[in-house]
C-alpha cells in the first residue's frame, strides 16, 4: 500500500455564490465519500478560505517576511485534502473520483517515502 494526497481545488467565489442547496449537496458528497472509502482514508481536512491565508517567505539570509494571502494566487484555490491509501495510481484515481469538487477539480500526488 502507498499513500496519496488528494488535493481539492475550487473556485471559492463560485462556491460562495452557489447557495445552501449546493453546500448541502457537497457536504453530503463528503460524508458519502467518507463512508464508502472509510478503510482507505488516512486523513483529510477542509481548509478555511484563502482570505485567511498567511504566506511566509524567507530571503537568502533566512529573514522571514510575513504577508497576507495565499502563496500562489489562482482562480481555483486549494480548499481541502484527503490522505488515502491505495495499492497503485489506478486505485488512487478511482477513489479520488468520488471526492466532490463542484467548482474545480482534484489533484492526486503520491506521498514520498524515505528509506529508514
Amino acid at each position: 500500500m502507498s499513500q496519496y494526497l488528494v488535493l481539492i481545488y475550487g473556485d471559492e467565489k463560485a462556491n460562495a455564490e452557489a447557495g445552501q442547496g449546493q453546500w448541502d449537496e457537497t457536504m453530503k458528497g463528503h460524508n458519502d465519500f467518507g463512508q464508502k472509502h472509510a478503510e482507505k482514508l488516512a486523513g483529510g481536512n477542509a481548509l478555511q478560505g484563502v482570505d485567511t491565508a498567511t504566506s511566509i517567505r524567507k530571503d537568502a539570509a533566512g529573514a522571514a517576511t510575513v504577508t497576507d494571502g495565499p502563496f500562489v494566487e489562482t482562480k481555483e484555490a486549494l480548499g481541502g485534502y484527503y490522505l488515502i491509501e491505495a495499492k497503485d495510481l489506478d486505485e488512487a484515481i478511482a477513489v479520488a473520483k468520488d471526492v466532490p469538487s463542484p467548482f474545480g477539480g482534484l489533484e492526486v500526488r503520491p506521498i514520498m517515502v524515505f528509506d529508514r
Binding site: 495499492k87 497503485d88 495510481l89 489506478d90 478511482a94
Partner: protein
C-alpha cells in the same frame, strides 16, 4: 545472415521480450538493458543456428540475465521503486510457457496519467524497441529533449505507481480508447508528416500497423478492429499518393490499380466485422468511409451520398470540427461545389479550424470549380500560409499558379 535474423527478431519480438522481462525485473530500465544484452548475445549464439522460436530464446536469455543481476544487486539501493503488479514476479518458466505480457506494457505506456507525447514516445521505445535517437527523429525534437521526456515518464510510472497490468473490465473501454488514440496519432503522424520534405513517414506507419495488429490479436474489440481496418485501407493507397517526382496526388488523380489490393481486402473484411459488433465507434466509421473509397473502381463512381451519411454518423459519434469539415467537402462532392461552399461557410467561425490549412484549401477548390478565380487565389494563399509540409505546399502552389496562368 545472422545479422538480418537478429534485426528481424528485433522488429518483431522486442515488445514481447521486454514485456516478459519487465515481469521479472519490475524495473523498465533494467529490463531494457537485459533485452539489449540478449539481442547482442544472439548475434554470436545464433551463428550455430537460428532458434525455432527467436522470441522465446531471447526472453529466456534476457530473463536469466535479469535474475542474475537482481541476485547480485540485492543489497544495492534502487534508484526508483519497483513497478506495481498484482502478482509476484514469476520464476522463469519453460520457453513454451512464457505469457504474452505485451498488453500490460501497452496499458502502462499509454496510461492517461502520462502526457500524450510521453505515451507515444514510451510506446515506440518500449514496445517497438526504437532508440531514443530514433524516437526523437520521428517527432522532430532533439535527442536530449526526447531523452528527458522518456526519463520523466519512466520516473512518474515508478513513483506515482502506475501499475503494470491490464485494467479492470469497468475501466477497460476508456483505457483501450487511450491506447487507440496513441496508435492513431502514430499512424497519422506517419501518414502525413506535419512538416518536412516527405509526405509519408513510412517507418512510423509500419510501426503503427504492427502495434495495432498486435493489439488486435490480443484484444479484438470493435474499435481495435476498426482502427486496424482504417490503417490498412488508408495505407493501401500509399504507393499512389505521390508521383515519381514526389508530387502530391489527390484521391481523384490516384491510379487505383496500384492500391495494395491485399491490404484493401483485409481492411474490408475487418470493417464489416467491426460494424457488425454493435454501434460503430469513430475508428470503425472512419474505416467505413475509407472502405467506400476502396470499393469505388474510379473516382467518378464514388458513392458520395454514402460518404456524407457516414460523416454525419461520425460527427454525431465524435463531434469534431475536422469531421465537420470533411462532411462539408463530401457534400460538395455529392451536391456540387456551390453546396460544398455553403457547408464550409458554416465552419468559418470555428476557432479550432482558424489555423487548419485544409479549410481554406477546400474552400479554394470549390471556388476554383465555380470559376471564382480571384477568391480561389486568396484562399489558396491562405492555405499556403498554414501548411508546413513541403509536398503539400508544392501542391497548393501548383494550383495557385494554374489559376494565375489561366484566370477566368
Amino acid at each position: 545472415m545472422i545479422a538480418d535474423a537478429v534485426a528481424d527478431a528485433h522488429r518483431r519480438e522486442w515488445g514481447y521480450v521486454l514485456a516478459a522481462t519487465v515481469r521479472v525485473t519490475r524495473d523498465l530500465d533494467l529490463a531494457e538493458e537485459c533485452v539489449q544484452d540478449a539481442f547482442a548475445k544472439a548475434l554470436v549464439a545464433w551463428q550455430d543456428g537460428i532458434p525455432a522460436k527467436p522470441g522465446a530464446w531471447l526472453t529466456t536469455v534476457a530473463r536469466n540475465r535479469a535474475l542474475d543481476l537482481l541476485r547480485r544487486e540485492l543489497t544495492m539501493r534502487r534508484a526508483l521503486p519497483l513497478l506495481v503488479e498484482e502478482q509476484v514476479a514469476p520464476e522463469p518458466t519453460e520457453p513454451e510457457h512464457i505469457p504474452d505480457d505485451r498488453l500490460r506494457l501497452v496499458f502502462t505506456c499509454c496510461h492517461p496519467a502520462l502526457a500524450l507525447e510521453a505515451q507515444v514516445a514510451l510506446t515506440l521505445r518500449l514496445l517497438c524497441g526504437l532508440s531514443t535517437a530514433e524516437v526523437a527523429r520521428a517527432f522532430l525534437v532533439s535527442e536530449p529533449t526526447m531523452a528527458a521526456r522518456i526519463t520523466r515518464a519512466k520516473k512518474k510510472i515508478s513513483q506515482a505507481r502506475i501499475p503494470y497490468r491490464v485494467p479492470d473490465p469497468e475501466e477497460l473501454p476508456a483505457r483501450v480508447d487511450a491506447v487507440l488514440a496513441v496508435l492513431h496519432l502514430l499512424f497519422t503522424t506517419g501518414h502525413t508528416a506535419p512538416s518536412g520534405d516527405q509526405l509519408v513517414r513510412h517507418d512510423l506507419v509500419v510501426r503503427a500497423l504492427d502495434l495495432t495488429r498486435m493489439l488486435h490479436s490480443l484484444l479484438p474489440t470493435p474499435e481495435v478492429t476498426g482502427l486496424l481496418a482504417l490503417i490498412l485501407l488508408t495505407d493501401a493507397r500509399r504507393a499512389t499518393r505521390v508521383d515519381g517526382t514526389g508530387r502530391l496526388l489527390l484521391l481523384e488523380e490516384q491510379d487505383r490499380a496500384l492500391w495494395d489490393r491485399q491490404a484493401v481486402d483485409e481492411g474490408l473484411v475487418l470493417v464489416r466485422e467491426a460494424l457488425q459488433q454493435g454501434p460503430p465507434g469513430r475508428y470503425a466509421l472512419q474505416a467505413a468511409i475509407a472502405a467506400v473509397h476502396a470499393d469505388a473502381a474510379t473516382w467518378e463512381e464514388t458513392d458520395w451520398r454514402e460518404i456524407v451519411a457516414l460523416y454525419a454518423l461520425l460527427e454525431h459519434r465524435w463531434p469534431s470540427p475536422v469531421v465537420a469539415l470533411n462532411r462539408a467537402v463530401a457534400i460538395g462532392m455529392a451536391d456540387g461545389p456551390a453546396a460544398g461552399l455553403l457547408a464550409l461557410a458554416a465552419l468559418g467561425a470555428e476557432p479550432s479550424l482558424a489555423s487548419y490549412s485544409y479549410l481554406p484549401a477546400a474552400r479554394a477548390d470549390f471556388l476554383r470549380r465555380l470559376g471564382r478565380a480571384a477568391e480561389a487565389r486568396s484562399a489558396y494563399e491562405e492555405a499556403l500560409l498554414l501548411t508546413e509540409n513541403t509536398v503539400e505546399r508544392r501542391f497548393l502552389e501548383r494550383r495557385l499558379s494554374a489559376l494565375n496562368a489561366n484566370p477566368s
